[in-house]
């Protein structure tokens, strides 16, 4: 079985879905001839032609808006936003339309749309190329938020996202794009949305992470008997998997790259406090990015949670 990095795995997923279903098409800035700025769509223009691999004008709201029009018509568009920091012009389309078309038309129109965007820091990119604002989307009912953590699950999750009958925001960690390789099978396999992945089982502490932070959580947990949950889908998230683990360990450390205040860790923490408080042996700890404007690249390593910071968090909860 071939070993692929995440760029190649996502490319394979797009290719296979486009072969399987003529209604699937990709649109975005530089996705055609250039193969995308990260080369995720490399070779797809040659295989599928400009009607299905569409280089659009530079207009994020227009890209998502047009993709919504395609989706309600019955196509399965995948819209690429070049970087998560550039998605904000499209928020009106995502929040005011994609998320609510099914509801406001009482099911007459649906929006099976995937918006893919590279996110996160760690590749020494310019300003606004390193954002991790996934919580914005989790707050909005009617859209799903998916964050793969490896080439294998990126492929499986993208297949599920494209086939999902509702809009999905699919966030790809730029730092993971080429940093890990693993075996990715060709052909059908899908990973269900809304189900967390139990990466490792242990009984002393529960670590919850997603996307690029999973690797750091794994490193921090070396030598510790930890349950590690890779959330994969942030919205709707797998409450049951979290409760099950918390009931077992009684200790929780939540790790994310985004700023702490109103980050998705706050939602997880509140959920655990509401429904599993009596199983807790220690306060819940969040190891996150800081409440600071995402710094330029020279300081990005100080901004992102490190394995050391996570380890400190684990030690903290283990005191109880």
């Amino acid at each position: 079985m071939p070993k692929l990095n995440m760029v190649q795995a996502i490319n394979l997923a797009l290719k296979e879905e486009m072969q399987r279903d003529k209604n699937v098409l990709l649109l975005g800035e530089d996705v055609g001839k250039d193969g995308g700025v990260f080369r995720v769509s490399e070779g797809l223009l040659e295989q599928f032609g400009p009607e299905r691999i569409i280089d659009t004008p530079l207009a994020e709201s227009g890209i998502v808006g047009a993709a919504i029009g395609m989706a309600v018509y019955g196509l399965r568009p995948v819209a690429e936003i070049q970087f998560m920091g550039f998605i904000y012009p499209a928020l009106d389309q995502i929040f005011s339309h994609a998320s609510r078309i099914r509801s406001r038309s009482r099911g007459r129109f649906t929006c099976p749309l995937v918006v893919r965007a590279p996110y996160g820091a760690g590749i020494k990119a310019p300003e606004l190329h390193s954002e991790s604002t996934e919580a914005l989307f989790c707050h909005m009912p009617g859209i799903k938020v998916v964050v793969p953590s490896s080439p294998y699950n990126a492929k499986g999750l993208l297949l599920s996202s494209i086939r999902d009958p509702d809009p999905v925001i699919f966030l790809e960690s730029t730092r993971l794009y080429r940093s890990i390789k693993e075996e990715v099978p060709e052909g059908e396999y899908s990973i269900p949305l809304g189900k967390a992945r139990i990466v490792q089982e242990g009984k002393d502490v529960t670590l919850i992470a997603w996307g690029s932070m999973l690797q750091r959580a794994l490193k921090a947990a070396e030598g510790i008997d930890a349950d590690i949950i890779d959330l994969i889908t942030l919205s709707p998230f797998d409450e049951e998997a979290i409760f099950k683990s918390v009931k077992k360990t009684g200790r929780v450390v939540i790790i994310h790259e985004a700023p702490k205040t109103c980050g998705f860790g706050a939602e997880l923490s509140a959920t655990i406090a509401e429904d599993a408080m009596l199983y807790l042996k220690a306060p819940i700890i969040r190891i996150t990015g800081f409440d600071a404007v995402m710094p330029f690249s020279k300081l990005e390593d100080y901004y992102m949670p490190t394995a050391e910071r996570i380890k400190k968090g684990i030690q903290e909860v283990m005191k109880y």
Binding site: L25, I54, G62, G65, M70, L75, S96, S103, K144, P165
Partner: protein, 361 residues
């Protein structure tokens, strides 16, 4: 020392120039320019007239119901009926329509059930569950955001190789929004089968048309995106119909998009929550009264022997009956269930929603 000088002439060249056209066919006295008259049978013309009267009757009744607290805020179309009915009359049921929030005339022309329109304005989402045989997108409240949807649906039509077109409706205010420009630009770049219909009613709540854009016309904005724009007398149903029909035929032949500016006037308030007397002069309103789109068609029909007092009575009677029937039907619909708010968030309920919905069971 001798200096040799060479004289070079580099006059500025005209690279492109545009002419913005205005089309009108039917004047205020009910006379027409026969050379421009679109092909419409007497039956068609009567049908147009009856739709104008029905829409105005609906509008009037909606205002009454709002004042009585039987529906919520309502956006009247008074004065804009010809722009809506004239354009929708050219559309086929298989075409796709992306309206804004002031298009009941379009809905009525396409055969949308009247009681569902009241249902929408009464605050019941079931009112915008478009019947299967129509492709009218639900009312779009965020201004201008429907324009890229129209471009996207047109891309899908082109990709699927279907002989259909898309109509996007918006107002003069909408043309200031970024989404209007992004959608228009895409339509031009990809030569999409879409017709952009701007009802320039001269007011975006309290902001007059001149403060919305420094362009002399809305129509000319199309030229910047590489396709045609035309201004039509928006109170002249024949001009609106002809421009829309021509644009739709062009779109369906694969010859790209068109922008139609319907030059009309909002005779009423922005919505029932607004009071236009705070910001506009009565004289302006008075000046537009003789341009009324219904009166104009009536005068035309009278001259052609298609209109009599008796006919008027019948048309008004039928419209009133249809509207009353719709109100009765709407008010008999059972109140939505609180749990309905969850039903269509996603195809399936989430773990969390399943718990929350128990509050209502």
């Amino acid at each position: 020392m001798v200096r040799f000088e060479r004289t070079i002439n580099m006059p500025e060249k005209i690279l492109e120039s545009f002419n913005v056209k205005h089309l009108s066919i039917l004047d205020e006295k009910g006379d027409t320019d026969e050379s421009l008259m679109p092909s419409l049978s007497d039956t068609d013309i009567k049908m147009m007239y009856e739709l104008l009267v029905l829409s105005r009757t609906f509008d009037h009744q909606a205002l009454n119901l709002q004042r009585e607290g039987r529906i919520g805020s309502y956006a009247p179309i008074l004065g804009q009926e010809a722009s809506q009915i004239g354009s929708a009359f050219a559309l086929e049921k298989t075409d796709w329509i992306f309206p804004s929030f002031r298009e009941i005339g379009v809905y009525i022309t396409m055969g949308y059930p009247l009681h569902m329109l009241f249902q929408y304005w009464s605050g019941d989402e079931r009112g915008v569950k478009t019947p299967e045989e129509l492709n009218i997108f639900p009312v779009c409240v965020p201004v201008g955001t429907q324009v890229p949807h129209a471009a996207g649906a047109a891309m899908a039509i082109k990709y699927k190789n279907k002989r259909k077109a898309v109509a996007a409706y918006f107002g003069d205010g909408g043309t200031s929004e970024g989404d209007f420009h992004e959608g228009m630009n895409m339509a031009g770049v990809f030569k999409l089968p879409v017709v952009f219909i701007c009802q320039n009613n001269h007011w975006a709540i309290s902001v007059p048309r001149e403060k919305q854009t420094a362009s002399k016309t809305i129509a000319q904005k199309a030229f910047a995106y590489g396709f045609e724009g035309i201004q039509v007398d928006g109170n002249d149903i024949f001009a609106v119909y002809k421009a829309t029909k021509d644009a739709l035929d062009k779109a369906k032949k694969g010859e790209g998009p068109t922008l139609i500016e319907c030059f009309t006037y909002r005779m009423s308030d922005h919505t029932t929550s607004d009071d236009a007397s705070r910001y506009r002069f009565k004289e302006e309103l008075e000046a537009w009264k003789p341009k009324d789109p219904i009166l104009r068609l009536r005068l035309f029909m009278e001259k052609k022997g298609l209109w009599t007092g008796q006919y008027q009575k019948e048309v008004e009677g039928r419209a009133k009956e249809a509207v009353d029937e719709a109100v009765k039907k709407e008010e008999a619909i059972e109140h939505p269930e609180p749990k309905d708010m969850f039903t269509f968030t996603f195809e399936k309920l989430t773990q969390r929603q399943t718990k929350q919905i128990r509050d209502f069971q």
